[in-house]
Amino acid sequence: MTMTSSKKLPNGTTGYKLQPEDFAQINRRNLAAFQVGWNYERMQHTGYLWIILPQLRKIYGDGTPELKQMAKLHCGPFFNTSNFLNTIITGIDLAIEEQDGVESSEAVASLKTGLMGPFASIGDSIFGSLLPTIFGALAANMAIQGNPLGILIWVIANIVVDWFRCKQTHIAYEQGMKLVTTMSDKLNAITDAAAVMGVFMVGALVATNVNITFAWVPDIGGVTVNFQNIFNMIMPRLVPACLVGFVYWLLGKKGMTSTKAIFIVLFLSIALGALGIIAKG
């Protein structure tokens, strides 16, 4: 192996300190393709290494046994976390590796396994569920009315999210584990407040975007009974609310999946619609 100019420190590193362009490169790789290697077996294992590979090569020197050892440490085991928060782990990890080199291998391994779970659940609930609910619902609603502007709003919101994804790498590198403790309190409060808005919006959506009415007007002893009129008098949008309640209950059944629920609603609607019991409206 050619040992390039690098002189080794006792901890196995070249003593390289990460520069601003290193963070830019990590963020570019992260945004472009952190998850393209995702697979069933070990999920993001190759991606975790890929986004920091150029930096590891600088820290340990190319072609060194230390580089191989650490690359295997990253690529080998299972890794899966939120793709919105993964660079926090990356930032903390690189700060430790830059400092302690191969001696940090145990600390790095436990850091990764320890943080990936909590970050996965925080990231999934904020970025995978709440933001898509609020902005997706808005975009969808406007789109149905023929207006593409809501999609633009969503794109802008996601660019802001991407900006945060880039910022956090360096912040995590600077602050290390301290960030995790200060962040967890704030994040809990924000998640909770965002959940309030999410729940509120779902309520609003049920009232506007489920469009079915009761069409059956039976003739009982010479008197026609217009159920939809009666429902409207009790409360507008009562039928949509009942349908959502029904699906909610359905989803709580054992063995029920979202795809099954979609098909049940599809077939029920076709049957009841064809019979003229419910109508769109």
Binding site: G47, G146, L243
Partner: protein, 295 residues
């Protein structure tokens, strides 16, 4: 007929959208965006936006939690829009007939793509062993190909060869099978209910029931009021025209603005956050009532 360049553009979009979802996440990998693209390519923006919007609502709560496969509403939207426009199918019926079944079927190509990547993962392991980093880069990025093909290939095949099938279904729905068509239209109105119910399963509904009721009630009232005002305005205009009056109102009434409803939601959420910050020790359940009073 779908033109060859339309097939090409839609296939390229299908290949890109999953990569966007995995990486930059600009929302280009969302159903409503798929509707925008498909609508533009097919030359009928309104139909695309409508189908995309409906599909977005239907899968609103179906996230990728823990890497689980989810139904592919984007490819469903692309195909439903393409065929609705090219074969003259009713968009509402295309949702139930094309978009949802396609979306569900594509779960299997998604699984295939994720399996294929296991192969590349093993190649990467070997490259680390040899410290062959250019091979590592190559094998890593080839994972993107598995992802893209898992979307692009079925979309291309369906667009290229599905036209006749869809055409015969469409004519049947306009003829003997009109009753199914009616049912499908109803399904279009009902399907978003699934998306909302799934969301309610994920969100802390029990803790925040008050806000669910608030959002529903405010919107139900305003929605009905706005719709009635619109109808009334239209009637007045029609009466005026019938009576030969000059300067009758034009009947330009906007429907309920969801953005404004979202602003109310944001306000409630900010109040909740501030209350939480002010008294962190107080149990969250006790605060629900406070927020309602402030509103």
């Amino acid at each position: 007929m779908i033109q060859w360049w339309q097939i090409l553009l839609l296939t390229l979009y299908a290949a890109y959208q999953i990569l966007d979802e995995l990486g930059p996440y600009t929302s280009a990998g969302q159903a409503v965006f798929a509707g925008l693209i498909a609508g533009l390519v097919m030359g009928d923006l309104k139909t695309g936006l409508h189908i995309g919007g409906m599909m977005q609502l239907t899968v609103l709560g179906v996230g990728t939690f823990g890497g689980a496969s989810r139904i592919d509403a984007n490819s469903g939207t692309v195909l439903a829009t393409a065929f609705a426009v090219s074969q003259g199918m009713d968009p509402e019926q295309a949702i139930g007939l094309i978009a949802v079944p396609v979306a569900a079927l594509m779960v299997y190509t998604d699984i295939l793509g994720r399996f294929a990547n296991t192969f590349w993962g093993h190649r990467c392991d070997a490259d680390v062993e040899k410290m062959d980093w250019s091979a590592y880069n190559r094998h890593y990025l080839l994972g993107g190909l598995s992802w893209s093909l898992s979307r692009a290939l079925p979309v291309f095949l369906a667009l290229a060869f599905g036209g006749e099938l869809v055409a015969s279904i469409t004519s049947a729905l306009n003829g003997d099978l009109a009753w199914i068509g009616r049912g499908l239209t109803v399904a279009g109105g009902a399907l978003p209910a699934v998306g909302f119910a799934i969301l309610l399963r994920y969100l802390p509904v029990k803790k925040h029931t008050a806000f669910l009721l608030l959002g529903f009630a405010i919107t139900a009232l305003f929605g009905t009021a706005f719709a009635n005002i619109g109808t009334l305005g239209g009637d007045v205009a029609a009466l005026g025209i019938a009576a030969g009056l000059e300067g009758v109102p034009s009947g330009m009434y906007n429907s309920l603005s969801m953005l404004t409803i979202a602003v109310i939601g944001l306000a409630v959420s900010i109040l909740y956050y501030n209350n939480n910050q002010a008294r962190p020790a107080v149990a969250a359940t006790a605060q629900d009532g406070d927020d309602d009073d402030e509103l």
